[in-house]
Amino acid sequence: MINYNKVHHLGNLLGLLFICIALTVAFIDQISAHDLPCPLCLLQRACFIAVGIMLGMNLYYGIKTSHYGFMLFAGFLGLAISVRQLYLHINFGDPGYGDEIFGLHFYAWAAICFIAILAAIASALILEKGFISINPIVIGWPEKAVIIVFILLISANLFSTFFECGFTACPDNPVSYELLRS
């Protein structure tokens, strides 16, 4: 018999791993290609982090509908931000903002990812038997490793944003790190 609680647990772990990979890809592109993130790009990263926090809560404190509810809010907000950025660049001849990956800009991929996240949450809510936990929550090394990497990625984004924008509002089209400019 399928243990739905374990299915939820595995899904949340893979989800958090996916969020970590998405944040890492964006960060590697920022560092290696010197492709500074725009304000909306940073907000999309923040929404990925918001989804990841609730995935982590599911892993550490058990599967709860409230966690999925907050995840939905974060997913919708991220989708709204990425679709807004898509609309800003939908004109003919507009080259878009930033680099492309597999033929699409990062914000287009972000919109696709947020739609996938919302679909995954809807699927998870269908498996309602998984909300009843028979066994106590076991936090193994994969969960700990992923959450540590996730916290490190948040810290990395915090420091890069600090160097890029300082304590004020981020520039419209950033070309250099505000605090590293001599």
């Binding site: 940073l42 926090i53 982590g56 809560m57 550490y60 950025q85 948040i154 984004n157 304590f167 981020c170």
Partner: protein
């Protein structure tokens, strides 16, 4: 301004690993609302 978004999320994320605060959902909701506010401020930019 944007730094505060990531700082608030970091505070909530660290609580998952160490010790869950009593008002973690309220803190998380504040983070989301602040993100929404910053989105409103920056929504016309690239």
């Amino acid at each position: 301004m944007m730094v505060l978004v990531f700082l608030l999320y970091l505070i909530v994320a660290v609580q998952i690993f160490y010790k869950q605060g009593k008002y973690i959902f309220v803190q998380y909701a504040v983070c989301l609302l602040y993100t929404l506010y910053v989105f409103n401020y920056h929504s016309h930019l690239v």
